[in-house]
Symmetry: C2
Subunit: 191 residues, 2 copies
DNA sequence: TTTGTTACATAACAACTGTTATAAGGCAAG
DNA sequence: CTTGCCTTATAACAGTTGTTATGTAACAAA
């Protein structure tokens, strides 16, 4: 087991504590306890707590990007775009946890410009992917030529972000099927 | 100056600290310092810190509801619905701060079911308002009769929530005019 | 004036925080 | 074996946290 893997283990332990107890209760000692070891391990693989936080936040971005890239295996088409967008909805426990950690970090970034900048970069990468998808669909005549890919990419991401958030809050919201329909219909209107 | 007002002053001081420094750095002492007094004031008007947090969170909900109810003065129509939805977008500094505090609290509520339930109640009230508006518009033949008000209310709120969030992250996102257009177009499709 | 309530200040408490230094064991290379 | 590195444990540090108790003015009611 390399040191790389150990870093991931610490980060994943941090995730579990964040999801279960909240980010502010995720102390070095709590992470170590989750990993069933002492704080010596945590401090050995991460300089600072901020170092750990940034690593864990980066993991969130990677998880989201990985989910989106996975559906790029499918053949080009509007269904692929929809599938890509549905990646953001918390359909299983894992994606639900990803969203929870993401929200926790976003709230934590309020009043912290350097962390908010990290979110900005992350959102930029995701938007670029969706925008490229839209342009590809436009080029293949799947979508109308008069719409602005940048605007639509933002709108679509905002929509799925909002839907995912509502799911997290569990505001007696739409079930997953209904959420998928909402996204589906929005995409259909772009055709 | 009654005791009610003093409670609001403390809560507003807490808001300012949250926006400027982040929720986790918003300690009793920081709030007192922001109010230019000692912690005795804070502890005198709030039993717990949780008591203070819940009050401040409730203030966020009230601020959002107040903004939505204000536009209900306008004559019924699709423009009123759009105006109601635009309430959630951070067009000025105050609404931007409201959104920041809201996001901070939402992230803080991860791993805290009782706080998440408060968000749930808040979201429920907002959704009820939008849903009532949709039903009124349907009754007046402004909107198509075949669409489900509950689904559309959720979708619309998700859209504006997502747009507002993107604005907060400042992800080189759409400017306010473009965001308004996105909402406007979505509503037009419901007609 | 006396009394009692409200409003605020001060100080101390134990618990917890991130950080750091030091030490001990595991294990491969020489 | 010895040497040195990697990993982990332990302990202590100074600072911050929420909470609580106590003290002290201000001020209205009696």
């Amino acid at each position: 087991m390399g040191q790389r893997d150990r870093r991931y283990e610490v980060s994943e332990a941090a995730w579990r504590v964040i999801v279960r107890e909240g980010l502010d209760r995720t102390s070095m000692r709590a992470i170590a306890h989750e990993l069933a070891c002492t704080t010596g391990v945590v401090t050995h693989y991460f300089r600072d707590k901020q170092d750990l936080i940034l690593f864990a936040l980066h993991q969130v971005t990677q998880a989201l990007l990985q989910g989106m890239r996975a559906v790029q295996q499918q053949p080009l088409g509007c269904d692929r775009l929809v599938a890509m967008l549905l990646t953001f909805l918390p359909l299983d426990t894992k994606q639900r946890d990803i969203l929870k950690v993401w929200v926790a970090f976003l709230g934590y970034a309020v009043g912290r410009p350097e962390l908010m900048a990290e979110h900005q970069r992350s959102a930029g990468e995701l938007r670029a992917l969706v925008m490229a998808e839209l342009q590809a669909l436009q080029g293949a005549q799947y979508l109308r030529a008069d719409l602005d890919p940048a605007v639509e990419a933002n709108a679509l991401l905002a929509l799925v972000n909002g839907l995912g958030l509502d799911s997290l809050i569990q505001a007696q919201c739409l079930n997953l099927e209904q959420q998928q329909q909402v996204v589906q219909r929005y995409v259909e209107r772009l055709q």
